[in-house]
């Protein structure tokens, strides 16, 4: 085994065996989403069941064929309790624990027969702001809307028309073109899928990058904290190997941790899909295998860039805590351009703003990932090239720091002064 591989194996082993990293940065974040999904899923299932079973009180003061048809229609989709006229409906509804009260006033049928809209009084009794209450509130409105549609259908049928045609007379066939790709879907569906994709991609990149930065900074700072750095630097090995081992080791552990987090997130999303949200009608994946490869390359180059930056910062840190707080300062600098690339296309911004944003290297992590996804070779090459330039510059800087005394004597301005040796 060569010196570099030996160093990488040590880095990975040491990082993965550190409980602060294994539990705090890999196990907990990976378990967080499934646990959250399970908790939310359980709460939502229970809420949905309660919303379904909760009675709705109805008082028919009209007693016309139309009002009876409406009440019948309500009963098809709700746990209905009919109240007798002459009682205080709100007090009675509260007495039986109803979540909603629907009062069909006198003249309901007459209005419909004369071609006017009929009046209806609906009261909702919410007990708080829990999931079951909000679900019941939506359900009450849905039950009323559905019963009203039932009345419409009966009126349309009695006029000798097909209710399906009368209510939905046009069947449009949509085709939406997006960046040269064709989707046989309505623009609304494509837009909602696009919103999901444009927020998911930078989010994935962000998770991987933040984790990698923390690991790279920790792996350098822990050498200082545990007083192993001096020994390491006095060994007959190139300092470039020491630096590369730190970057590659952090990248490997971050990738492993990210896979765990992504698996957790997928599980979390599946929980919600299983609760009734229909899955997207098509997979909106990368354009081709080449595009997927470019996405991987974009993430790799972006990661190397920020890991090297974290390493440079960690060189000036006294211990793990000061290294992590220094990395914490950098996170907004990476997050802000990433968020911008999520919500806006920097190329469409006015000239001065565009120049500033595009000059910022972290903007290109999101841009390169997105350009890979949509396979736009021009912007992709530009972003990748720009990130590669920054990465090389940072690696050269980091290597110089590793060759200089700064790696032993450098410290952040806010770090505690250290007692000198003899």
């Amino acid at each position: 085994m060569g010196p570099l591989s030996r160093l990488i194996v040590k880095e990975v082993k040491d990082l993965l065996r550190d409980p602060r990293i294994l539990i705090g940065m890999i196990v907990l974040p990976a378990a967080m989403y499934p646990v959250m999904g399970l908790a939310m899923g359980t709460a939502m299932s229970a809420g949905a069941r309660e919303a379904l079973e909760r009675p709705i009180a109805v008082l028919d003061l009209d007693r016309s064929p139309e009002s009876e048809a409406f009440t019948r229609s309500l009963g098809e989709s709700a746990n209905l309790v009919e109240l007798e006229p002459g009682v205080d409906p709100e007090a009675e509804a509260a007495e039986i624990g109803a979540g909603g009260l629907i009062v069909v006033p006198e003249g309901f049928g007459a209005s419909l027969r004369s071609g006017s809209r009929a009046q209806l009084r609906v009261a909702c009794f919410l007990r708080g702001s829990s999931i079951s209450e909000t679900m019941f509130a939506s359900r009450l409105e849905e039950v009323v809307r559905s019963a009203a549609e039932g009345v419409s259908r009966e009126m349309i049928s009695s006029a000798g028309l097909d209710p399906d045609v009368a209510l939905n007379p046009i069947d449009p066939s949509y085709t939406t073109f997006l960046k040269g790709r064709r989707f046989d879907l309505s623009p609304g569906v494509v837009a909602s899928l696009l919103a999901g994709t444009s927020s998911t991609l930078p989010m994935v990149a962000f998770v991987v990058i933040i984790m990698g930065m923390q690991l790279a900074a920790t792996s350098v700072a822990v050498e200082k904290e545990e007083k192993t750095l001096e020994t390491l630097l006095s060994l007959p090995i190139s300092r470039r190997d020491v630096l590369l081992a730190k970057l590659v080791g952090s990248l490997i552990v971050a990738a492993a941790g990210s896979v765990g987090i992504m698996a957790g997130m997928l599980y979390y999303m599946q929980v919600f899909q299983a609760l009734g949200e229909s899955p997207p009608p098509i997979e909106m994946g990368p354009a081709s295998p080449l595009s997927a490869l470019a996405m991987g390359l974009s993430l790799l180059v972006g990661n190397l860039m920020v890991l090297t930056l974290a390493t440079v910062v960690a060189v000036f840190s006294e211990d793990v805590r000061s290294a992590q707080s220094a990395v914490g300062v950098l996170i907004p600098l990476i997050l802000i351009p990433m968020l911008m690339s999520m919500f806006t296309d920097p190329w469409t911004l006015p000239e001065p703003v565009r120049t500033v944003i595009l000059a910022f290297p972290f903007t290109h992590i999101g841009l390169a990932t997105s350009a890979s996804f949509w396979w736009e070779p021009g912007p992709l090459a530009l972003s990748l090239g720009y990130m590669a330039l920054w990465t090389v510059a940072l690696v050269v800087l980091a290597e110089r720091l590793f060759w200089s005394e700064k790696v032993l004597t450098g410290r952040l301005p806010w770090a505690r002064p250290r007692g000198g040796g003899g």
Binding site: M1, P3, R6, K10, K13, D14, R17, D18, E226, K227, T228, E230, T231, L233, S234, L235, P236, I237, S238, E405, L408, T409, G420, G421, G422
Partner: protein, 245 residues
């Protein structure tokens, strides 16, 4: 042959002048002690010889190799034990020794030989199978010393090897250094502010005060020259005379 030749070393940290023209030399096979109070410049000197720091001026040669021009070659023949050196918390003692030996051993056989020697020097027995985070300070120091010596360097640079250790661990460390020097013929530079310890360990000592070598010689020779009973008294006398002049 000279193992180490240090000439006119000057080193500044900002406005603080840590070394002010320090010169001394160490013969091959010698145990040389650098003694002086905290802040005298001992650690800075050892770090420069170990190629970790660069002086502002002056020269250092290790077995004829220019330490400033050929640091990687120098690192192949030296072993440096920093003051308060730690070990990787999540590796076992044995894994740590194996990891370090891998950078020096030519083949698997030599690697095993080094690890075996390291285990013997450390005297940690079965505890070598435990992670180093469970070790006491003394055990960590024994492991670090074993790491430094197991590779049989031509020059071992040991910075305050017994600093902060209890009597038992300090005795073990001193015994190992002495035996290793005698049996293996390795040249050793050891720094300490414990002058009595250096008196027991070293063939020759150099007294450093405020970045300068103020006296040098065999312990007995210095005791005789200053009519003192120990090196501490010698140091006080040297500093007093220096201040008077």
């Amino acid at each position: 042959m000279l193992a180490v030749a240090v000439r006119d070393l000057v080193k500044r940290y900002g406005r603080v002048e840590a070394l002010r023209g320090l010169s001394f030399s160490v013969e091959e096979g010698e145990v040389y002690g650098l003694i002086g109070p905290n802040g005298a410049g001992k650690t800075t000197t050892l770090r420069i010889i170990a190629t970790l720091l660069r002086p502002d001026s002056g020269r250092v040669e290790v077995f004829g190799l220019d330490a400033l021009e050929r640091p990687l070659e120098v690192r192949r023949i030296i072993s440096y034990l920093p003051e308060e050196a730690g070990a990787y918390r999540n590796l076992t003692g044995e894994e740590y020794l194996r990891f370090m030996a891998g950078f020096y051993a030519e083949d698997e056989g030599e690697l095993e030989e080094m690890v075996e020697r390291g285990a013997e020097i450390s005297g940690l027995g079965d505890r070598l199978r435990d992670k180093t985070k469970t070790y006491s300070k003394g055990m960590k120091r024994r492991l670090a010393l074993a790491r430094a010596l197991m590779v049989r360097p031509r020059l071992a640079i040991l910075d305050e090897p017994t600093s902060g250790l209890d009597v038992v661990h300090a005795h073990h460390v001193r015994r190992v250094i002495r035996e290793f020097a005698e049996e293996e013929g390795v040249t050793i530079i050891v720094s300490s502010h414990n002058m009595l310890e250096v008196q027991q360990l070293c063939d020759r000592v150099g007294l450093i005060h405020r970045g300068r070598l103020v006296e040098e010689g065999a312990p007995e020779e210095l005791l005789g020259k200053y009519g003192a009973s120990n090196l501490e008294d010698v140091f006080v006398e040297v500093v007093r005379v220096g201040a008077a002049e």
